[in-house]
Assembly symmetry: C2
Homo-oligomer: 119 residues x 2
């Protein structure tokens, strides 16, 4: 395989809330996404989910608090926990989760993205 | 859990080639390491291994090539593949691998670090 450069990969797409797979490790995937505005409340019943901010600022709302992640910061959302990511300005993030995880979890709808889309 | 800031965590240790756990996702761990100089040839028989460079430049030598990773770049070393990381200057990296993986794989020795050390 070739090495992966995050900014080169980000240059390949512009839409928001549509994670793109850039690498697989065992049965886990690394995905890049550009996000802006409000996502939906959802959870992932069977898995934790890792958010790493590459550029910009991501907020994640939980029932009892809101966290703010800037570039160089990460957070592990525990499995089953309801959360809603949002971002005032465009933010570039790296997600790590098992292969097959759907972005909106159990909350299928308009923002549900196609899965396993590689760039 | 609290959010994790990579540079805050890097400020907590100075030794080289001793990965420190900063987060767990399911049965996987995220580890930070500072590296400088030569590591040992080794492989991980049962798992792929992800390297992400946070700061500096990491080289990874394989039997047939050497790759160079700079900040914002990642690489997946396939399971079982012999490799030797090295770095001319200090480099800060993020590793992702299953819980329990030993840094030197099958090549236990002087550079084998204690496992599951959290910061």
């Amino acid at each position: 395989m070739a090495k992966i450069n995050f900014q080169d990969k980000f240059a390949k797409f512009s839409e928001h809330w549509t994670p793109k797979v850039i690498a697989e490790m065992n049965d886990y995937q690394f995905k890049l996404a550009k996000v802006k505005g409000e996502f939906v409340w959802h959870n992932h019943r069977d898995t934790d989910e890792v958010f790493i901010v590459i550029e910009g600022c991501l907020k994640i709302e939980f029932a009892d608090k809101t966290i703010e992640l800037n570039a160089g910061e990460m957070y592990v959302v525990p499995k089953g926990l309801q959360h809603k990511p949002y971002s005032d300005e465009e933010c570039k993030i790296l997600l790590v989760e098992p292969k097959g995880v759907v972005n909106t979890g159990e909350a299928e709808g308009e923002l549900t993205a196609s899965n396993d889309v590689w760039i």
